[in-house]
Symmetry: C2
Subunit: 121 residues, 2 copies
């Protein structure tokens, strides 16, 4: 018996299953990045921003108006999205236009929507 200290004494789930699953888990960095992406979409404000930016290129003040939130708050969120390279942006004079730059995010939102819509809760 190896590495068995923490496993409960009565074992129904066979040990090989536990060992197999343990090994199949991706490395910590990948898990971290995965959690990170989900974290981006876990905030309603940021989620809405991503939804909008997946459909059109928009400026900060448009987003602020659409979400009924301060431009500062939007700018902070966009800064986060920029740091994760999830959006691309383009300056045109005073304005800054943002758009989503990660197809996976769009796919995640679409996928998640199926879950969200089928729940009356």
């Amino acid at each position: 018996m190896i590495e068995n200290e923490d496993l409960c004494q009565v074992k129904f789930v066979n040990q090989s299953t536990v060992g197999r699953l343990r090994k199949s888990l991706k490395d910590p960095q990948t898990i971290e990045r995965l959690a990170e992406i989900f974290g981006v979409l876990a905030d309603p404000t940021r989620l809405k921003i991503c939804i909008f930016l997946s459909q059109a290129e928009l400026c900060v003040c448009d987003l602020a108006a659409m979400l009924n939130i301060s431009e500062s708050a939007i700018s902070h969120q966009l800064r986060l999205l920029r740091s994760l390279r999830l959006v691309k942006f383009r300056r045109d004079g005073k304005m800054a236009f943002y758009a989503l730059d990660d197809a996976h995010v769009t796919a995640l939102i679409k996928q998640g929507m199926e879950h969200a819509e089928e729940r009356a809760k």
Copy 2:
């Protein structure tokens, strides 16, 4: 000009686009639920729990051992997953066996993994 107070004066994005996007946004409850699911997967511990439970039925102590975390912490997280009806569980004597009970979550993890794995960052 209707509902134009907050939109910036210089408009390049035409107003109809903003209006159209605004209307296309799902209702607040759906957005909330969507953000909620992503929130579940936004924590590394909970994410790993979901990954494991999508592959096998496991008890609390197995999860605790696999994730190298206290059984209490696992139990708290499982409580959350239960409240969101994302897991089903079955008692057998002293043990409690959990398994994932939402196919969408599995799909989300799979989808997200594609994003996470293609980033060296």
